[in-house]
């Protein structure tokens, strides 16, 4: 098990007080994690000793900065069992998913000019389909809606059961010969459900579709080997796994990274440029136009080392124990209903709930007044809320620095909210 007290001490912000002297209880790591001193120090040290533009210039600092950036790529790739040249840095996971979506719409547009030069897997049109799930974050929904609008393809989705798990009974008919892309979330940010992505990716490959996994809520919380997911592309963010904001990741197979046209274009991503046209560098550079987020990469690598020192199996065990404790505590509260899987089987520690007679915004406000930070709202998964007949939820999402005392503080806050509004 993790030594939570020792971990807490590594996170300066967790020493804060909020709202008139209340000690901060941070239970919103599904939105963004806090950062340990090691990450802050790495970024500061980079700027103090190494800062220069990467992949250009031949002076000593330029070389050192390039080394730091590429070393960070190796560390982060290694964390998910990947080769460094298969890892693309983006601004965030939303950009990673847009990079893939734009590869499809750009390839479709380019194929009208020169079909021979474009990988047909990426070219979409009327009659083609894209398959997602009904529990996607808007980041893995809206970009595909846009691709459909631009190409005439149809969006389909795997539906949910009332418990908030995927209903896979129609998997083989929903993903059929018309399907060009299957993009699914590994662990739901709102429900906590862990999906059998391997099975879905295997089905995608049976019909020749490209398989994409949104791993934002899994890579920070459990051991993930990208090859075991069976996907062609895997997207996740840095800031949810101790890293700074401003850096996201996209892993891809060499084959798909070579096939995808670039998303953003400009400096750093080219091979040769004339006034008429340009050719592009191989991946990952092809997808990293402009000066990249070097300090953030260095910071994220420090975050990854921190997680590796804890061991991701230990992190997953810790969160499983917290999830069990939280589910039991919420189940014991009259008037509180969990939205999402009721058991810890195939579920992470992000737990959404509603309180009878109280809107989540008001629950969150009472918790906030006691220093407890949780997320309220639709969690960028509005269709998921609609499907489960809730306007919004309150979500507790713990991480490595939380313990059962933090859960107790949240539970006490829920009871206080019920009393304040006179609903219990």
């Amino acid at each position: 098990m993790l030594d939570v007290a020792a971990i807490k001490a590594d996170f300066p912000i967790l020493d804060s007080t909020v709202r008139g002297g209340q000690p901060l209880v941070y239970l919103d790591s599904g939105a963004t994690s806090q950062k340990p001193r090691a990450v802050l120090d790495a970024e500061r040290s980079y700027y103090e000793h190494t800062n220069a533009a990467v992949h250009r210039g031949a002076h000593a600092l330029a070389e050192a900065a390039t080394d730091a950036y590429e070393a960070a790529r190796s560390v982060i790739a290694g964390f998910v069992g990947a080769r460094p040249d298969a890892l693309v840095f983006t601004k965030n996971a939303t950009e990673s998913l847009n990079l893939v979506a734009y590869a499809c719409s750009n390839a479709t547009a380019l194929a009208r000019e020169d079909a021979g030069a474009i990988d047909p897997r990426l070219v979409l049109g009327p009659g083609d389909s894209i398959v997602i799930t009904e529990m996607e974050h808007h980041a893995n929904l809206v970009p595909w809606q846009e691709v459909c609008r631009k190409t005439g393809a149809t969006l389909r989705w795997l539906p949910l059961t009332d418990e908030g798990r995927l209903d896979l009974s129609g998997l083989d008919t929903l993903i059929d010969d018309s399907t060009k892309v299957v993009s699914v979330v590994h662990q739901s940010n709102i429900l906590g459900t862990i999906n059998p992505v391997r099975r879905i990716m295997d089905r995608a490959h049976e019909v020749g579709a490209i398989g994409v996994v949104d791993a934002c809520q899994s890579v920070p919380h459990m051991p993930v080997d990208v090859h075991e997911l069976g996907a062609d592309l895997v997207a996740w963010s840095g800031h949810k796994m101790l890293g700074p904001t401003g850096i996201g990741c996209l892993w891809g197979t060499p084959d798909i990274l070579a096939a995808m046209p670039p998303f953003l274009t400009g400096g750093s991503m080219i091979e040769m440029v004339t006034m008429e046209r340009s050719t592009f560098a191989p991946a990952p550079q092809k997808f990293e136009a402009g000066t990249p987020m070097v300090a953030q990469a260095v910071g994220l690598a420090a975050g990854v080392r921190y997680l590796e020192a804890l061991g991701m199996s230990a992190v997953a065990e810790h969160e499983h124990a917290l999830a069990t404790y939280t589910l039991d505590a919420l189940a014991a509260l009259p008037g509180v209903r969990i939205i999402g899987p009721q058991s810890t089987i195939d579920r992470g520690s992000a737990i959404s709930f509603v309180v009878d007679g109280l809107h989540p915004h008001d629950v969150g406000q009472v918790l906030d007044s006691r220093g407890v930070a949780v997320r309220v709202g639709h969690h960028c998964a509005w269709p998921t809320c609609r499907r489960l007949n809730v306007p919004a939820t309150t979500r507790i999402s713990p991480y490595i620095y939380n313990d059962t005392d933090d859960i107790d503080a949240a539970v006490a806050g829920i009871v206080a909210a019920q009393r304040f509004f006179g609903v219990a």
Binding site: H361, D362, D368, S369, G377, H378, W382, P391, A392
Partner: protein, 151 residues
Amino acid sequence: MDLESLYQDIILDHYKHPRGRGLLEHPLGSAFHVNPTCGDEITMQVARDADGGLELGYDGQGCSISQASASVLVELLEGGTVEHSEAVRLAFVALMHAQGAGEPDEEVLGDAIAFAGVAKFPARVKCALLAWMALQDAEIQAGLLTTGEQP
């Protein structure tokens, strides 16, 4: 933090016992507004009553602040003139943007002064304003307001 400064009794009362809730049979204008960060929803409708005053209807779902604000709005403005509704709306918007430093005019705002404390919570200002923004849209749709005057 003082929860009572946010959740004044008047607000809780309007939340638990909403006034004038329900949609109109023949609205002249109707506007559906959402608060995209949290999913609060309000449909606000306007018509003229037999005496030429404003007839208001609304429905929605959301937090106590958003729903109480709609109820207070209807209580304050029903039966009045469009000009009156616009004056109160502008005063309310100004109060919400005062970051808690506003001096609310009870003559103009009536029960809506209870929302003064909300202005100290930036995340909740949108909730309080939702019905009022929808009202403005509904009045424009109904042809009762020509331009949406921006505060």
